[in-house]
Symmetry: C2
Subunit: 194 residues, 2 copies
């Protein structure tokens, strides 16, 4: 009799699946993976940007002169490298913090709150840095006829490929940071009793 | 006897001060104020940017011609106006949502989580837009001798003042969005029982 009652009792079937408010271990594994992705994206963005140096022979008053293109000629790209160096360092520290807290459930809520606070700051920094570098790189790619800013990507092919690739990886890093904040917010939300 | 026991009982004294996990009304008032600030910043940023049009007489091959400067000549400024139009609209909707939820405590936790999700997206959009416009405006202000991009702020005084003011207000809006996410995260965190 009792076995035939089970399927008709919705309370019983729902309680057989564990609700587990402490089951945020899965969350911390995703957190570590995403933080490692942010670290990888930051390192790739910085390395690709820093190695974008290119020297081309340009005609200057009829005389061919070697003219280099370097990321540090533009304050926008310097800000970009600085921002992603910070986010790379930050992601190492928080990956270790996230790994260390997996075995300590009583610390998790506090860590989640701190992660959100700092991740939001890092998101603001790297999203604005991606935008700044992207804005200047777009001028370099397309030029601007209204202000007579000539496009430079027709001359500096390798420089523009590196810059573009670096900004694309940076955009990926920003998206990963958004996912990190979403994950932390969801994990905190799960710990509130219904 | 019972009255003298009270101060020595830590359980009793702590329970006499209300812990009030439902006491997030204060939070929602701050939330409404910050969302209104974001709305004001978005409107000011868009209006100041859109009204930056300026026409100057420029010598072109020795002949003086009127040369206008408009925000829509630069894709960076178009993105800036689009992003802050979105954040302005978003802040109206969420201000109304935040006001509507003040009287409904049972909905608050759900709203807090949704607010964090969307606020993070808006932060990513407006921080990158501020960066993009800032990067291009900086080139307009200082020029770049390596790429032969001439500064334009020596010619277009009003245009540059409007652009700079708009970006400053936009930066304030981004900071307000960071504070909004911090506030939501803290309010969710407060609802977890110790």
């Amino acid at each position: 009799m009792a076995s035939t009652d089970k399927p008709t009792d919705p309370e019983f079937t729902s309680s057989s699946t564990p609700l587990a408010p402490e089951g945020t271990d899965d969350y911390f594994i995703f957190d570590v993976i995403l933080r490692f992705l942010l670290f990888a994206a930051s390192v790739v963005a910085v390395v690709v940007m820093v190695t974008s140096n290119e020297t081309e022979i340009v005609l200057f008053q009829g005389i061919p002169v070697p003219q280099p293109a370097k990321f540090r000629y533009s304050p926008a790209f310097i800000y970009f490298v600085a921002a992603f160096s910070v986010s790379g360092l930050y992601s190492i520290i928080t990956t270790l913090a996230s790994l260390s807290v997996i075995r300590k459930p009583h610390l998790k809520t506090k860590f989640l709150l701190h992660f959100i606070f700092w991740d939001v700051l890092i998101l603001g920094i790297i999203a604005s840095a991606t935008g700044t570098a992207g804005g200047v790189a777009y001028v370099g790619l397309k030029g601007n006829k209204h202000t007579n800013w000539a496009k430079i990507c027709s001359t500096y092919d390798k420089f523009c490929k590196h810059t573009g690739g670096s900004i694309a990886v940076a955009l990926f890093g920003s998206i990963v940071t958004v996912l990190l904040i979403w994950l932390s917010a969801y994990a905190i939300h799960r710990r509130i009793p219904k």
